[in-house]
Subunit: 329 residues, 4 copies
């Protein structure tokens, strides 16, 4: 069976994760070509994986059946539109843009071009969350009455990265907001609270810990807690309480080490270790969409809805009030 | 060794729990006498345990070295003062009163009488929370950056009970607010949200689910979630995140049953099963205070501080705004 | 309610555990008097708990409604008979004797005296094993097809203690053999294997690790593994596989500590910590037998049956063959 | 990057698992061609995956860079030799043969042909066991003192399959014997016990439950327990106790469902669900050996050593005695 040749734009942290997966773990997608604004870096990565380097993004598009964009956020929208208008399906890391109008224009341009666009909300491809989602959709929980999720990083990122990240809620909370929409449904109210446990964040007027209270359209309450400085490791867990059942998704803990006085299991230091299969799965899912002509599981419209909730959270945090959200569409 | 004879006032649900423990499980306390406004009921319970029934509260005080009050809330304050002024140490179920001024007057009267007053915040006597608290006090967590706790009932109580309960936050959340103060410290801001998953609550203008966001004096955030209708069972769990370590307290799960396709462990239907030793422990701890002249672990002042936070949560829920709390004193 | 005054003979390690419980944790039993062959020690312990010291065992019997024997093994049988013939119910630590005939004579003498005799197989009083046993008896497992249990000490005992212990199988395995009989039923074949992971044991011709394979009367297989040197802590866990369900009993793990890279829960260093309530429960259960005239949950006959299986294990280990066991009676 | 085209012989249960993985999940291997003695079936499977069907095994070899053999056991040896002598690397399901001399001859023929041979002991490719093995090799356990592993099927296989399986120990226990050698080292003594919990097995003179006690060259003891009728699901778990630490590998349990009175997590019904990635991983690992010229992680010699231990277990079970095993070479 022929694999789908994916051209990769961007060779930073996420770009390297995708290159590794496309070259050595994906079954449906394969690495076709590499592009980076830094040509030397593109050449080095391409050589490492034995694929051609493109000197321009146009050349990458030309050489690839589909394109995966993992460049700095500022170029996401433009590259997405360029690839789509050349008829290439696009996988793009979130966010499409930090500017809402640009995101909308990008989505509309892709829709006009008639190609699929998948955005990098990886948790949708985790088998555990997917199993929970499937049973929730099938009615196993009855009516949802409460939602809770935690997303925590072990150590904060480089401040240089933070400057262009769109802020805490757009950068971190947006993943949990997508999960909230996925597992429960539309959110109509957001109330956000932030704190800086690390003085470095306070000095930048930023936060490293946040709590975001949601009210869903069905009346249920939800809580998202996030931290950039959880110290013990990377955490991602979810609980959904319903009238018939409650589901909890936690990190698996298959290996336990016992030493004098304690039993311990290892915690993932970061998202790569926490999700050993999910980044491969999202690119293979994208490649299947390309190959089979099926729609992506998570589209630009979904990403926009989560972005709008993250913007509402930012506003709530800044103003100290609850923000009402328009019907998510 | 002589045991401390405790006179029990009130033979409702909690009164029966205390009677059972005083008569058959406590090692330091013992059941001395029983009183209830319903004399027939008092006589029946007294006969069951082989102790005298008192026909008046004054007689109960007379016949007992110390008094435990588990009557309806409305009489807590008066009975507490009566017993204290007769020189009897008092254990009283929470709350002292739904009226703050009455609570303050009660506390002051007990202080004037010079006897110990312990209030029924039972979680302080659970060995798991106590172990966590001991290590937190010893600095094992470093600086606390986040606090989370869940308290959920399997099924809602009788609406007749609800009417006199003081409202959701005063009746339910107050336990978690006490734990927040105990494990982390003073709370300076409260923002509360409520929802009614069960239409019966909405009809009463009441709620059965709540989220309460706390800001602690040290800047940390906290979240309490509560439910009267969790359906799956009684839940009580706590997490405290610190700069050095994070602690989680969950229900123990020592026995697992495997049947085709699943492994299951039993969940406690209610607080008696979740805390098999804690109600015995709190009365023995009270009896030790009486015997040894040591101060109670949880006093009227602590109960008042938790009540004030619960009142702030009620106000926040009603007004939709964050409520600032005066320094807890 | 009047408590049952228990006279304690022996103030070694187990004697001190019992003294603590009788004096400060039991609800039905209470410490009446203390005896030890070392009179100074008896006097010191008695003073500590505020009870009289007996200078002879006869005096202890005289001053007590019932007797608990935790002396060195060599005197168990004689003291048991003395107390029983004086009409006192007896709680005796296991084994009654390292000599089978002496055990039988002791049991017969107690039966002739018409008093209850309870032997110190504490696991019968653990709420988790008891819950499993209750459901097994009720048929929840269907037919049992496999039994597994582990009993492991963190660190080996003093060699001086080992000399008079009756050997590994009689001292350690006997507890699991009793659990096997309790949860599954009669054992008809025993095959035992031993190893010395610690050279000190090999030097004494002894072992610190053993595996004992059982065949039950119903045809099911069972495995007991034991260690005196598990290093990580004290372990006691059980699994019973049946045609309808499988049950596992493990140590509870309610408190989890997360530090960079791992989540850990504390392990009990020894049996006192692993079983925080069980030694209190067995003495209160004994006191209830005394008070109410009910038979003990675990009698001298049960202890003899477990001893016979331990002897068969010892023989199997020495001879390298499977040993057939006569119908347990 | 070019993938390694693997020709698949056999389209029974395991053959279908491998076809699915080669066609849709492997990243390094890919399905090149399908062969089955039943030509219609081969044609149907080949059509399903869009690859050519070979009408003879020789044709399969011709069309493939490497060969995977999942035919009935009786043809394993012959097909392995044929492929190897044609210069094709071979992946073969276990066992090579139920006849030891044939296995040896096969291994020698493959060695003479100079191609790699990997045998289907899949557990070596599970990330959890591999993590444990890596740390054991690195000395994290100190000296191993005890080994325990359980392998249990939910429901017994078809009796027709059993007839040609080589018997319980060769068919089931052999996997755990390989794990024992891998994690601990050479085994010098085997004592096996069997039972038939299901009368159908007894009627065939066969067993469905077994316990196998091992003594390792370093003196440590080990226990393997196996069942064909565990009813609750497929189980595979391992514990290794060492002087410095103890490691346990259990099934992950990331998703928990809470319903009234219990919390449950799903159990895998069979090996495919228990090991979602391991069969893909073993074929990609084999393809990497082919591509890179590296030796397989688990060779014919390893398979022979495990087979010899399984034969010893069979003999021990039949004779009721401990069987000494020659140094594994």
């Amino acid at each position: 069976m022929k694999r789908v040749g994916v051209g990769l734009a961007g060779t930073g942290r996420m770009g390297r994760v995708h290159a590794d997966n496309l070259a050595g773990r994906c079954a449906v997608a394969e690495l076709a070509c590499v592009y980076d604004a830094d040509r030397e870096r593109a050449a080095a990565v391409a050589a490492e994986y034995g694929v051609p380097a493109a000197t321009t993004f146009a050349e990458l598009v030309e050489r690839s059946a589909a394109v995966a964009i993992a460049t700095p956020t500022g170029s996401h929208a433009e590259l997405t539109v360029t690839a789509a208008q050349a008829g290439r399906p696009v996988f793009c890391e979130k966010p499409l843009s930090l500017d809402r109008a640009t995101s909308v224009a990008t989505i509309e341009a892709v829709e006009a071009a008639g190609v699929p666009l998948q955005v990098g909300f990886h948790r949708r491809f985790d088998p555990d969350w997917a199993a929970a989602a499937a049973r929730i959709v099938a009615g196993a929980l009855g009516e949802v009455t409460y939602f809770r999720t935690s997303l925590r990083d072990m150590t904060p990122p480089d401040p240089n990265f933070l400057a262009g990240s769109g802020g805490f809620f757009v950068d971190v909370t947006v993943h949990d907001l997508d999960v909230a929409r996925w597992l429960v449904g539309d959110v109509v109210e957001v109330t956000a609270h932030g704190a800086a446990s690390d003085p470095a964040f306070a000095a930048l007027g930023d936060i490293d810990t946040a709590v975001c209270v949601l009210r869903f359209a069905n009346g249920a309450l939800g809580v998202i807690d996030n931290s950039r400085s959880a110290r013990y490791g990377y955490e991602c867990s979810t609980e959904v309480v319903g009238t018939l059942a409650t589901v909890r998704v936690e990190a698996p803990r298959p290996v336990e080490w016992r030493t004098p006085g304690q039993a311990a299991y290892p915690l993932a230091p970061d998202f790569e270790e926490r999700y050993p299969t999910v980044y491969t799965a999202e690119l293979d899912a994208f490649a299947r969409c390309v190959r089979d002509g099926t729609p992506p599981l998570i589209t630009g419209r979904d990403a926009l809805a989560a972005f709008d909730l993250a913007s509402a959270a930012t506003e709530s945090w800044r103003t100290g009030t609850t923000v009402t959200v328009k019907e998510n569409t």
